[in-house]
Symmetry: C2
Subunit: 417 residues, 2 copies
């Protein structure tokens, strides 16, 4: 595991105390000698990260959480646009921190010759490059996939964009909100009969980042076998379509266009949020046996033998009548009392928790999913932990700080003069 | 690439015409000789798939789309519960088809000795095992991780569950709706000031399947270096927390609990859906320069110099006033006219599309994201394509049919007698 170290790309740069050096990493096809198991399954993998805001940074956060070394290459001066997006702590953007914790940062202007040489030396030592510019930008910078492949045949070259690197909308810019709207998820989210509603989190960005991470890892797997890199091309719009799931099947089989239906499942009943005497709860009674058990617990066994509710299909057709009957029964007690009875009967149920309740929940805490940042200037901030638990990876109880702009390499000598 | 073939696990079984045999696959640490590049980056990888309904099947669908051979092991008689969930086509459940297209199926009762032997022979030849039973079930079947590791040290053993394999709720059953409610995403989705709303797709299942796919691929990468498998433990609740993104940062920095805010971004303004004279459109004007351009296109340059709207932060604080001003301008023309003008100015914008519009969209078609199934009995059905485009992988224009229950292996001889 003796990692050969090299001087940082810009050999004249002074390094800050404790700042890591840029070391050459060549994840082996035939050998694991550079593999650093203590970091996680991606120990020894280096990612050069040109991404900004959210979709690309979410992808590289996942790679970082899996043990890769991620080096953000940011524009000198302002860096990743997310640094300017709130909410803010005294140390900087909490928004930026939440998806960039644990990464490194170098500031490079890819239009300057000295910085380009530094960038190229970084990529010489890297396994993966991730970018989320608009298609065409990397070509204009001279780092399009064709050139990159010629110079770095082992590189996994990952592009995340709004619409992908083909098709009529290829060069169109996009943001989360754009692909949530165009991709259909808004049209099926919202109150029954109400307006299309945005998913409350940036699922347009995040889903693309997640698919890009899987594609990157598949390409790394393949590289072990072929010795060659690959180009990954993930589009935010494609990723939204991939999330639509049974809405596509419902439309294709019935011709009916699905709309928002509030807080229930479209084709499993009863499966949704219900009012009690005080407070809402969720009941997810996915099949007939559970439905019969539910009727017992609610003290309404007659519902279980009612022909209108005999099968999931008939329950879906008669959802309003079933909901009324269930809520009539639920009106006799409060949410917490019902949750206790339903849990005792092993009927899947849940409180509808707000963000504060989620972060304080014993299960969330036990799974290390609400983590603090290892740096006094971020005291009080919480970020989501890593949901990818792997037995070969040490579970983290906190995360490393996000990088200050350019923290891991002094600016190029030219810029310093 | 000469794949050594073996007889199916149950050697007495007759094979259907054209049905694939179970072949031994040993993806090499040091060699790629069994790697089948034509299938995709996971060509040569075999996945034994014990999963049901959605979270696990979504994970194995992703692995299948990347080229792995996925063999579903289903309960004889009824199989995966999703086979009984609508909507239905003449050939069976479209819901089942949408996430199981391209997989194989064998029917095995893991409580019968002969079927257990057949199952074990399948795993002997596999690289990955995926299950989404409740924690404890695999142990009761005698196939818990500890035993599996002893017998199959190279196996990547993947568990997807509601709450994960640790913590106080470890053994609690869960469904999509349960983790959407407990994980906080419902509390930030919905109309402004309205009720918590379910995300219109089963993001509770799908997110867990996606994280499980990435974790599986990371473990496969690691296996090339160590020769050893690993246990992956992904929880649906953890996965929901990982999606909360800036809602956590907002709560942690302000102490204010985020609620539903309709169809706009919580910390970027203007970034949301707006009413025009006829129809809604989305404008995603993420930074100051775009905001100024937007004001020009709307013919309201005074807004750009209004102190209330000078920065993103001030625009967020004054969102209602800004929305009113923008909608007053937008009221002079219809949605389509505004989209044309905004697009010409390269301001990110979009129509709010329904599912029918999504599936017919030229970009979605050009990217092969709405695919038909290669089987006459599924004529007319569409399913989502693969959003993970990789240059080394042939792009599919249609998908293979989902398997009939037990199609790829005759029932065990004992059952046939």
């Amino acid at each position: 595991m003796a990692a050969r170290k090299r001087r940082a790309a810009n050999t004249s740069a002074k390094r800050r105390k404790g700042g890591p050096r840029v070391k050459r990493t060549r994840s082996g096809t035939r050998t694991g000698r550079r593999f650093d198991a203590s970091a996680g399954p991606l120990g020894g993998i280096t990612v050069v990260d040109l991404t900004r805001i959210l979709s690309g940074p979410y992808c590289t956060m996942m790679l970082c959480d899996l043990g890769a070394r991620v080096i953000k290459v940011e524009r000198p001066g302002s860096g990743d646009d997310a640094r300017a997006i709130g909410p803010f702590t005294a140390a900087g953007s909490a928004y930026f921190a939440s998806v960039n914790r644990g990464k490194e940062s170098v500031a490079l202007d890819l239009k300057r010759a000295a910085d380009r040489r530094a960038f190229e030396r970084l990529v010489d030592s890297a396994d993966v490059l991730v970018e989320n510019f608009r298609p065409g930008t990397m070509e204009r910078l001279g780092y399009g996939w064709k050139r990159a492949r010629a110079r770095w045949p082992r590189l996994v070259y990952v592009s995340v964009s709004g619409f992908g690197d083909s098709g009529p909308l290829r060069e169109r810019p996009a943001y989360d909100m754009v692909v949530q709207a165009m991709g259909g998820i808004m049209s099926i989210t919202g109150e029954a009969g109400g307006k299309p509603t945005r998913v409350g989190t940036s699922i347009g960005d995040i889903a693309a980042g997640m698919f890009a991470a899987s594609a990157t890892l598949a390409a790394l797997h393949q590289r072990h076998l072929t010795g060659k890199g690959a180009r990954v091309d993930v589009a935010m719009l494609d990723s939204q379509v991939a999330l639509l799931e049974n809405a596509i099947a419902r439309y294709a089989t019935s011709g009916q266009i699905p709309g928002p239906i509030g807080a229930r499942h479209p084709s499993i009943t009863p499966f949704g949020a219900f009012e009690t005497r005080r407070g809402q709860l969720v009941i997810a009674s996915g099949h007939d046996a559970l439905f019969r058990k539910l009727c017992d617990v609610l003290g309404t066994p007659a519902l279980a033998s009612d022909a209108r509710f005999a099968t999931n299909e008939s329950r879906c057709q008669n959802e309003p009548a079933l909901r009324a009957a269930l809520e009539a029964a639920l009106a006799s007690a409060d949410c917490d009392a019902w949750l206790a009875r339903l849990e005792a009967a092993e009927i899947p149920c849940a409180p509808v928790q707000n963000v504060a309740e989620v972060l304080a929940h014993p299960q969330v805490r036990a799974r290390n999913m609400a983590l603090s940042i290892d740096a006094p200037e971020y005291a009080g901030l919480l970020v989501a932990g890593n949901p990818m638990k792997i037995s070969t990876m040490r579970e983290r109880k906190s995360v490393k700080a996000p990088p200050k702009l350019g923290e891991h390499r002094e600016r190029s000598s030219r810029e310093r003069r």
